[in-house]
């Protein structure tokens, strides 16, 4: 019995020895793995230290400026041709364009009454805040088929020419105001004091991109300067001079009390001469002063 147990003990001891050996082998193997792994611990993936710089500076670059001048010059050729074509049509009709700036005002209704009395049409270049103040007059203009145009928001040279985008910004705001009040979306603009000398090529380019048509004039009534009957005399002469030269007059006038005072005299002369007043439209090629090197930034 004793011997039997001893034999069993031997077998068990043998199994134990084998188990211990296996355990030791395991430990050695796992240690080896540990060593191998510790080297990987020190090798994380590198993050990317790269940058993506934007292409900046094109806005003021000589390249862009030279392209603008070229595009503007090409556009000018096309515009002049279109103006000449329109002029032929207008000449046959003995057409004349009357334009009134700086309104609407407290006297706009009177002004419309006078025009109505002579059965004449005109185009109004209006200032945003004034449009808001005299909405009824604007709606009346629209209903009676007058031309509706834009004259900006501030009417201050120091503001409307203060940056390349300032004119287009003011005109866009003005356009929205007019559209809200009248439902008419007008692209006709006149710059305060005219487009020379402060409307630079860059500003013209941006206005063009905004679909705006820059209207200047060829007959300055000088109503703003003379403030009495002399402006009528002066304007009559100028109109005749342009008509004789075969150029359709685009007359600059102002929505001001002293202009209205002598306006009937001017209108009756126009009627007597058999001229026909027309309104400006978005589609019409505009009469615009040309820079020809005379335009410079105000700042």
């Amino acid at each position: 019995m004793q011997k039997h147990i001893t034999n069993k003990g031997k077998v068990l001891s043998a199994i134990l020895v084998v188990a211990v050996v296996i355990l030791l082998v395991e430990l050695v193997v796992s240690n080896k793995n540990d060593e191998a792994m510790s080297s990987l611990h020190n090798k994380p993936l590198e993050t990317l230290s790269v940058s993506f710089e934007p292409m900046v500076g094109f806005g003021e670059s000589p390249l862009r400026h030279s392209i603008i001048l070229k595009e503007r010059a090409d556009k000018e050729i096309a515009r002049k041709q279109a103006v000449a074509k329109q002029n032929e049509v207008d000449q046959r009709e003995k057409a004349i364009y009357l334009t009134f700036d700086d309104g609407p005002s407290a006297v706009t209704d009177q002004l419309i009454d006078i025009l109505d009395a002579f059965q004449m049409k005109a185009t109004f270049f209006m200032i945003g805040p004034n449009i808001k103040e005299h909405t009824k007059s604007v709606v009346r203009m629209k209903n009676e088929g007058f031309g509706l145009g834009l004259h900006g928001i501030t009417h201050e040279a120091g503001k409307i020419y203060s940056s390349p985008s300032a004119p287009v910004d003011e005109m866009s705001e003005d356009r929205d105001i007019l559209q809200n009040v009248s439902g008419v979306r007008s692209n006709l603009i006149r710059l305060p004091y005219g487009s020379i000398p402060y409307l630079t090529e860059e500003m013209r380019y941006l206005l063009d991109k905004g679909d705006f048509k820059v209207w200047d004039w060829n007959v300055d009534s000088r109503d703003w300067e003379l403030k009495d009957r002399r402006y009528v005399q002066h304007t009559k002469q100028e109109i005749d001079r342009y008509m004789q030269a075969g150029v359709t007059p685009v007359v600059l006038l102002h929505d001001k009390p002293h202009t209205l005072e002598y306006l009937p005299e001017l209108l009756s002369y126009i009627k007597k001469q058999g001229y026909r007043t027309k309104v400006l439209t978005n589609e019409q090629p505009p009469v615009t002063f040309q820079c020809e090197g005379r335009c410079n930034s105000i700042s």
């Binding site: 188990a19 990987l40 790269v50 993506f52 390249l63 030279s66 595009e71 380019y205």
Partner: protein, 212 residues
């Protein structure tokens, strides 16, 4: 009876030990595969650095061209970055190839993950695969955007070469190029964040594998 209990204990010890040994074996294999993958990642990072340098050269060319008048057509033609752009394309292809290889090498650990018995280790390694997949998605987006940008850049310079000085088109191309740059910056930022997470998970996993 005693003998039976003893045998069961021994067998249990064996199973435990062989389980450990199997997880160790998987860890070792995973380590090897990751190391192989990482070697391609290194190449990929190097490619990205080359691309970074080439981009800087293209920027210089762009600045150069901008300072000219469009009438100086010959000067512009001499400067446009055809050579640099085709170099960039090539470097981009290499970067993509290396990243793709790194990715597939890593994906090979999936078969090891299946054999891991320890739940935590399994979880951790599965996270590695998920993170690598996120990195891949981001890089695919990055490569697509980059190719798009190179197309815009080529057509920008082509327009200049062919005397097509239409401002609308040129400005439109610059806008697209800049949008793409911004987008790629954001993608790289996300990519780096995930790479850092990946590194952390990797370290944690190998710690786990050591302990068991």
């Amino acid at each position: 009876m005693k003998r039976l209990v003893f045998l069961v204990m021994i067998l249990g010890l064996f199973t435990f030990l062989s389980g450990c040994q199997s997880d160790h074996k998987q860890a070792a294999e995973i380590h090897e595969k990751m190391e192989e993958s990482a070697s391609f990642e290194e190449k990929f990072v190097a490619n990205q650095k080359q691309l970074d340098d080439t981009r800087k050269r293209v920027q210089e060319i762009y600045q150069d061209v901008q300072s000219l008048d469009f009438n100086d057509i010959d000067a512009i033609k001499q400067r446009v970055g055809d050579h640099e752009l085709s170099m960039e394309k090539q470097q981009l292809n290499e970067a993509e190839e290396n990243f793709q290889t790194a990715y597939s090498k890593l994906m090979a650990i999936k078969e090891n993950i299946e054999l891991i018995q320890d739940e935590d280790q399994k979880k951790q390694t599965t996270k590695l695969v998920t993170l690598m997949n996120s990195r891949k998605k981001l890089m695919e987006n990055f490569f697509d955007t980059y190719r798009n940008q190179l197309k815009s850049q080529s057509s920008f310079f082509e327009h200049l070469e062919q005397d097509k000085f239409e401002l609308d088109k040129l400005e439109g191309e610059i806008d697209v190029i800049n949008e793409d740059s911004l987008h790629m910056s954001e993608v790289v930022e996300q990519f780096n964040e995930i790479t850092e997470q990946y590194n952390k998970v990797m370290i944690d996993y190998f710690k786990m594998a050591d302990i068991s």
